[in-house]
Amino acid sequence: MSRTGVFVCHCGTNIASVVDVKSVAEMAKKLPGVAFATDLKYSCSDLGQKAIRDAVKEHKLDRVVVASCSPRMHEKTFQKCIATAGLNRYLFEMANIREQCSWVHDDKALATEKSKEAVKMAVAKANRLAPLEPMKSPVEKHALVIGGGISGMQAALDISQAGYKVTLVEKSPSIGGRMAQLEKTFPTLDCSA
Amino acid sequence: MTNSVPEFEDADCILITGSNTTSSHPLIASRIMKAKEKGAKIIVVDPRKMHIASLADIYVAQNLGSDVAWINGLMRIILQEGWENASFIKERTEGFEELKKAVAEYTPEKVEEITGIPKETLKEIAKIYATSEKSSIVYCMGITQHATGTDNVKSLANLAMLTGQIGRPSTGVNPLRGQNNVQGSTDLAAIPNVYPGYQPVTDDAIREKFEKAWGVPLSPDPGLTVVEMINAVEEGKLKGLFVLGENPLVSDPDSNHVEKALDAIDFLVVQDIFMTETARKADVVLPGASFAEKDGTYTGTDRRLQKIRKAVEPPDEAKADWDVLCRVGKAVGGKGFEFASPEEVFREIAEVMPIYHGITYDRIEKEIIHWPCRSEDDPGSPYLHKDGFAKGKGHFTPIGYKPPVELPDKEYPYQLTTGRLPFHYHTGTMTRVSPSLTHEVNEAFIEVHPTNAFEIGVKNSQVVRLTSRRGSVNAKVIITNDVKKGVVFMPFHFAEAAANRLTIAALDPIAKIPEYKVCAVNIEKIEESEA
């Protein structure tokens, strides 16, 4: 069984004014695999993150669920946070109870109910998370530029000037592209070649 | 079975009791489903709501071990309503008046009290069964595995005779034989009181016939049954035991008791294909062959003889069991074991066994033969008792209801019943090494009614300890409405949580069948640390 920690965020009044955050955290405590659950004023703040880190250590949590804003907003923040607490950053899941709950619902009871379900879903997923390791792959520091027109030539020069090798591939017998076909160019009417 | 399997399809009413047909005999269930499609009424009377129950027109759950009561009740209604088959009773049976008297006290009210079957439902069942053109009774271990097993079976026979639902196609009393060749091993006298073909050992003429056939003097005393032999070991009377392809340590009731016996026995020989729990205790283990590695015949539940054919060689030094037995026979000094093939053995069988007289390997290659088949031009008997019963008139046996041997009490407040799963077979020696089957389910469980689960305070999948007076096992809980309040169910395929450590070795006085289907148990929660 996992030891999941659940942190339900007030986000000041953003969430707490609509959702009964404490009851969501209380419910979370009863979910399978949950070893610890609490509410936090601002979970993304320094204090909030410290509270999460402390809880991970104190309760030997192996997974963390934060119920707060959209993962598109703070997923990375919390991943880093639990990483500093020694957990694999991918053992983290978010429940979106702000953008997709407190901000879009008026009825407090129903919004609280929905938040609970969002937390249940996040915990259910979290319980099945496995640690992941980002992979590394070597980089061949050689660029290929396809097309020998103005853009291609310029790209080759820019990359070359940065100190990297470039191969410029042009289909026709000469580089130059359309530019070479032009007489003068606007708006300065200078020569194109 | 009095009738053959395909006949089910054309029945108008099928009364199923004590049979988890879709699990244990799926292809018979298939026929029953077909019958239903054709318009037959399906009635299921079973304490546990199994798959077949959900397909039934009428399903009712009786209390465990109350079968005689509801069958008697059914007969009383039939008589009351005049639904009995008077001409059949008159022409083909005897003892009707005694029966009438015996069932008179089983008023619907009383039956409802004993069995839990509402009287209206009972009446409906009675009507459909008695008044349908062709009614067939299907039963299985749910009827027989009781201390009152014989009573139960006889009651069903009474019912069939009372309504004349026997001796015609698609009727009859049809016990479904659990194992592939139960019928055959019984036919071939792997039972203590008869010679092959149900010829009593106590009958001097018959004994003489066999003495002549086998060329040795034979014992006139009936032998011991399985449970009796185990008891005899404990009593020091039985010293040596040869076990062929069985696993009594798991399959027999009160297995703690069996284990003690097998530990105590002087000499145990086990012939099997796997190292079973029983084989581990043996002094000599002989490697046999699986069904794919040998030739021979099986007799199906409807008395149909069929061949099995060798597809591949037995592994390594293992040998076909008939071959092994011929060698054992010779080794222990027997005569008449010089067989070169199973077919030769079968020829001898057909000779000594009148009901198999007309059967040869050639014939069963080409036709379906149900015994009795007494001569080469006898087509066999898909259904029995066509023109009369074997012993002349069908005898009604008046039977009274007896409660199960062990009833729930304060200490053991729940009733345990056992059964099969569709995915496993018997003690699992074959199915539990089959990946496809173990993938489906590979651990024991205990079905508990939600109310009981709440009382005990257990949740789904939580492991509990189930205890009877004879032992205890641990298994996870499945909460379901399929079992009645107060009843728990457990499959018996799993040696590590063997239901038979709990079951009672109470025997039916006549058939000596143990009461697998009812015993009293207690359920306890196990703390996480223990589990």
Binding site: - | P26, L55, E365, P422, V441
Partner: protein, 271 residues
């Protein structure tokens, strides 16, 4: 028949095929058998009964072990569709498999309600008229929605989870079956969770089912599985213009991304 046997013998002798998967008579029973040049005498038992075994499924069993052998296989219309689909799914190499075509009898075509009871090339039998019969689908289509639901649920509830429909199906060549995924459908339950068990199999048949009907023949619970899969087959052709079992051509739009405009479904009538 003798001509047919001779033809197979010739194929053996010329080395065009190294084995012929057909049907042999065993006592009362016709059973599948691989005839080989090593045992030409077995051809005497060769038979073409009005009984169908999953020949292509058996072929896969053989090909798995002998991927390089040139094999002849007795194909009916349905088998040929199955082979086409197996080629598309990279299960067999068409150049190694010789189709030896059998036209089904009128009886068999009728009992199979077969829309194409013959393969492209016929080596035995006479072409009989296809049976165009979608009365099974129509009957269900015309039921009111609730009745339809009750009908299917009661059919599905008969399932004893034998997996026969899958086992006999040539299109079910996966080594591990989703139907046995405990996370999706709880294992160990019979009947299995309905309708998900049957709907998932139905969906898996989309773009794959070649309407041979062997599943339904194999079903001990007599569930009208073929009707269900035929419907999916119709949906595939109706909405996406894809018919499985045809030779070569387009790829299954449920698997093949294609370019942006590839098989955009037409609008579904929701009534």
């Amino acid at each position: 028949m003798e001509k047919f046997k001779k033809y197979i013998k010739e194929l053996f002798e010329s080395g065009e095929i190294e084995g012929f998967l057909g049907i042999r008579k065993n006592g009362l029973h016709p059973v599948p058998h691989l005839f080989t040049p090593e045992h030409p005498e077995e051809l005497e038992t060769l038979t073409i009964p009005d009984v169908r075994y999953p020949m292509t499924e058996i072929l896969l069993t053989i090909v798995r072990k002998y991927p390089d052998k040139k094999l002849g296989i007795m194909v009916r219309g349905c088998d040929e569709r199955a082979l086409n689909e197996l080629v598309k799914n990279q299960k067999i190499l068409p150049e190694l498999i010789k189709h030896i075509g059998i036209a089904c009898s009128a009886d068999l075509a009728a009992s199979c309600r077969c829309a194409q009871p013959y393969p492209e090339e016929i080596h035995y039998g006479e072409k009989v008229a296809p049976v165009e019969d979608r009365s099974d689908i129509e009957a269900i289509d015309t039921m009111p929605q609730e009745e339809r639901f009750d009908y299917w649920m009661s059919e599905f509830s008969k399932c004893i989870k034998c997996y026969g429909c899958r086992n006999i199906c040539s299109m079910c060549f996966c080594d591990q079956c989703t139907l046995e995924d405990n996370d999706l459908i709880a294992t160990g339950q019979a009947p299995p969770a309905i309708p998900i068990f049957h709907l998932i199999r139905a969906f898996h048949m989309a773009g794959r089912c070649i309407d041979c009907g062997l599943c339904e023949e194999a079903c001990p619970a007599h569930i009208p599985l073929r009707t269900l899969y035929r419907k999916v087959r119709e949906s595939m052709s109706g909405f996406l213009g894809y018919v499985s079992g045809t030779e070569g051509g387009e790829k299954d739009p449920l698997e093949f991304l294609g370019s942006e405009g590839y098989m955009v479904p037409s609008k579904i009538d929701e009534k």
